[in-house]
């Protein structure tokens, strides 16, 4: 007996929006990173929820994609944190507003 797939998708949507909201409203650079992580997790949950709707061996496709997503997230966190360290050294601050120089 698996949980209601509709409810799973609902939880995934809520978590995704929370993650996006964290990433967009918080000023601390760590919260932006963690908000993105939360959104990725929500997407993974959605994948796994949908994987239950596919027949037989096809259903595992929905579980392999999150597996790769986790690996990519690891790479992302690795590079992202390295950049945080680099920027922190230059600006002595964790405020994302002080990094607002993407353009120049």
């Amino acid at each position: 007996m698996t949980p209601d797939l509709m409810a799973v998708q609902g939880v995934a949507v809520v978590l995704f929006c929370l993650g996006i909201a964290v990433a967009m409203t918080r000023r601390n650079i760590f919260f932006i990173l963690m908000g993105v992580e939360l959104a990725i997790n929500a997407a993974n949950l959605s994948f796994i929820g949908f994987s239950r709707t596919l027949p037989a061996a096809m259903s595992l496709t929905g579980q392999v994609v999150p597996l790769f997503a986790i690996a990519v997230a690891a790479a992302e966190a690795c590079v992202g944190l390295a950049m945080v360290i680099l920027i922190y050294r230059a600006r002595e601050s964790l405020d994302s507003e002080s990094f607002a120089n993407l353009k120049e």
Partner: protein, 175 residues
């Protein structure tokens, strides 16, 4: 029945932790909330017959990645953290975007409500590895993608080392 109870427990923990991440004061608290969220998500994965992913979630996500995040937070932990305002109220103008996204997605899911297929396989380590690497069962498998992910991780590691390396010769003004 018991799975429904577990699911509601895990789901409420996950959403609670996500909410706390939004309002947390210190990044360390936020990171701990995120770890709680991931562990409960791992529980949900297991309930959805994906035990292997649940384990990977705990090992890799909650274990390795979040450990790295916590480590860096503690390394860069300075008194300045409290001076940074928690929210940027200009961001409120952007909230309609995720809200619209949420509405769209929920509507989509509601009108094409997912139906569970009884023949769906359980995602054990054996099934998943066969699915990924046994080319006699699946057409192409995921060999190439797997190798690329490995290369990506290697590249990420090398670039992280290069980025975070202290350049002794450059001055602060030059960066």
């Amino acid at each position: 029945m018991i799975s429904i109870i577990y699911f509601s427990l895990f789901a409420s923990i996950a959403m609670g932790c996500g909410l706390y991440l939004l309002i947390a004061k210190h990044p360390l608290y936020g990171a701990l909330a995120l770890i709680g969220n991931m562990i409960s998500l791992a529980g949900i994965y297991s309930l959805l017959s994906a035990p292997f992913l649940g384990v990977v979630q705990i090992l890799t996500y909650a274990g390795a990645i979040m450990m790295l995040v916590v480590f860096v937070i503690m390394v860069l932990n300075t008194a300045h953290d409290h001076e940074v305002p928690r929210f940027d109220w200009r961001g409120v103008y952007l909230v309609p975007v995720p809200a619209a996204l949420a509405l769209l997605l929920l509507a989509l899911v509601y009108f094409n409500s997912p139906v569970a297929d009884a023949t769906a396989l359980r995602g054990t380590a054996q099934n998943i590895s066969q699915f990924m690497f046994d080319t006699s069962r699946t057409d192409n498998g995921y060999w190439i993608l797997f190798e690329f992910i490995g290369l990506l991780l290697l590249g990420a590691m090398v670039s992280a080392v290069l980025i975070a390396k202290k350049r002794l010769s450059t001055h602060k003004e030059d960066v």
